[in-house]
Amino acid sequence: MIPFFAVAGLILLTSVLMLLPLIPALAELHNKSDALPLSVIQQHTGEIRFFADGFRTYMKGLELPLRECVSSGANTTGTMPDGSEYLVLGRGEEALFLPFREHNEFRPAVIASGTDLLLPSETNFSKEIFSAASVIGGTMNRYRAILAEKDVRLGRESSVMRWVHAVGEFSADPACQLYGRISSDTGIRLSAECRFLRLNAPYIAIGLEVDGAPDPSQLLSDAVVYQRLFHDGDFEIQAGEVFEGNLVVRGRLRIGVRARVRGSVKSEKEMVLEPGVSIEGSLIGASTMQIGSNCMIRGPVIAERTVLIQKGTRCGTLQNPTTVSAPNIEIEEGVVIFGTLWAREEGEVMAGA
């Protein structure tokens, strides 16, 4: 009998040890605590204005006090339904003089103004700002988020942590740091040494000098389906040459001065566009990309590493906006992008030569 019990005991012990890892599995199967489908973004589409639109809806709760403050010229404070404190200003310029600063922190949290909002310098605005008119910020400020129904102008060396949306023009003075999303329904202007991540507007002008480049709307439509041409190894399109077709180069690609490509271009290694090049389609680089001065590119510009865009270049058109995207973007003053400029890791405005 003893060997029988020994064997039975061994089998029992082995079975228990085998079933041990299944206990959490059985518990989860029974409880279904994590059985919902993975969250898939079904409705919003990664829209850059998503947070701004949400905040605009949130601000509807302040419509009445805002209207009253504007007509009376008075200020008021209170608490939103979610517990956030707010300050409503009848006269936006009074924000410069109000005693709401404690150790460079502006209190209370959400600021709303019915008129142009003038903000002091060297201040941390840790909650959202809303203006029914424009927002003009002092220097070296730190913002969480701004929504303005007119223009937004940030003073030198200011930074934005989450997002800004301006119905009018957004402009940033030198050395601003724009983390998160910056969008405008009118246009964006960035000065030298500004750093950015994601920008979207009908036009994004880098620096004050935006004229001088030819209008890319002169470029033909790329509705024609061009033949695809392959080249293994390095390739060069000669200066002044007109190249017809979609070009895929498995090596380095150089496009000579004032050459024109009637189609799209891709290279697996470095790509260099010399000054005055026109591309009617898209520009795709699996490595780094250098776009010379006064180039015109109609379609999306995508680089998997770094893209350098030199002065006078224009990407997209007002009628046909496009996207310029890369992990790292260096862009010189004098460039205009129509549409989206998106640096996944870091974008920087280089001071003009």
Partner: protein
Amino acid sequence: MIYALYVIVSVICIYTARHYWFTLNRLFGFQRHPYIDIDTADWPPVTILVAAHNEEKVVANILSALMTVKYPEDKMLVIPVNDRSTDRTREIIDEFVGRFPGRIRPFHRKEGKGGKAAALKDAMELVQTEVILIFDADYIPGAGLIRQLTAPFFDPEVGGVMGRVVPMNCGTNLLTRLLDLERSGGYQVDQQARMNLRLVPQHGGTVAGVRLSALREIGGWNDTSLTEDTDLTYRLLLHGWKTVYQNRSECYEEVPETWPVRIKQIKRWAKGHNQAMVTYGLHLLFGKHRASLRERIDGTLLLGVYIMAPFTLLGWVLALGVFYQGVAPLHGIVAILSVTAYAAIGNLAAFFEIAAAVRLDGSRKRVCLVPFLILGFAVSIFAVSWAAVSQVKDALTGAEFHWDKTERFRKAAS
């Protein structure tokens, strides 16, 4: 016998290493999503083909979803490919055509060869755009999905694009929960790692797109294939077109809720995959074409995925045979046998891959179900092996492949 076993062990070791390589790349490597940031562009016209064969339970859902996506209306045409349906599919589609005039052009196929590829092939007569997107009728695309799947076609080298499939009925029972885990591993890790490493992401034939000029160059849809998606992947590759995977282009699907349906589905996949292996395997590995060396190797390993099931079963039989013959393993082979034992119990590397995928998805408790995957593995290994055997039998007897539609479980939209 022992040498055959060594071969099998070696091949299993290669697949084990591959799983680990992919998982570690996904956890620690550079992640490629080059086209996902294209949110503003002069969007090209697209045609969206919705494959529907007796889909009265689900077709209204996808058509409703497609009518609300964010894509220029004048540049998007939906073609429901109603393939010889005998239920209310036609009626439902025609109702949508009436509600959205000019945006849906139905293709009612009354006769012809069976199978999705044959239906898509016939529907091509209506397609005039360079970009074609394909959905099965049980999928529900989100608002931004059409733009996300179209964006890669700005790259002139891209011939095909594939999005991620997410089960929406995952909580129904044990099978759906296991399939949810498998999908996570397959897309979140396997497909994305192949994208990261510039290997061969697989076209899935749904939540997917193809370039018309590329499709024409490779000879159109292959209606002799049981898995037109695998077939398409390899023909694109052999003609120098890239298939790209977009992990963030997610779309809900319905997974089988009963084991017989699941077995039928995986047997069809296995047969189609093996068919592609026989057709393209040698040419891919040794032929003259534009695929890189790493694409050739990965593509070949991908082709062999389903043949590994009977191969593993054979390994078990051989291992038993070796044991009872009393053959002593060669000196130093013990280590390899250890790996075999480790891998043979279900290739734990694949389970590691799935656990990592679940983690990347941000899920918490569902990772607890990983031990149950051994059950899904056991069913799959026998089903896939049986499919391979019957495929050989069909080839010898000259029997034609039969295309089985996957049964739907959703309640019909009212």
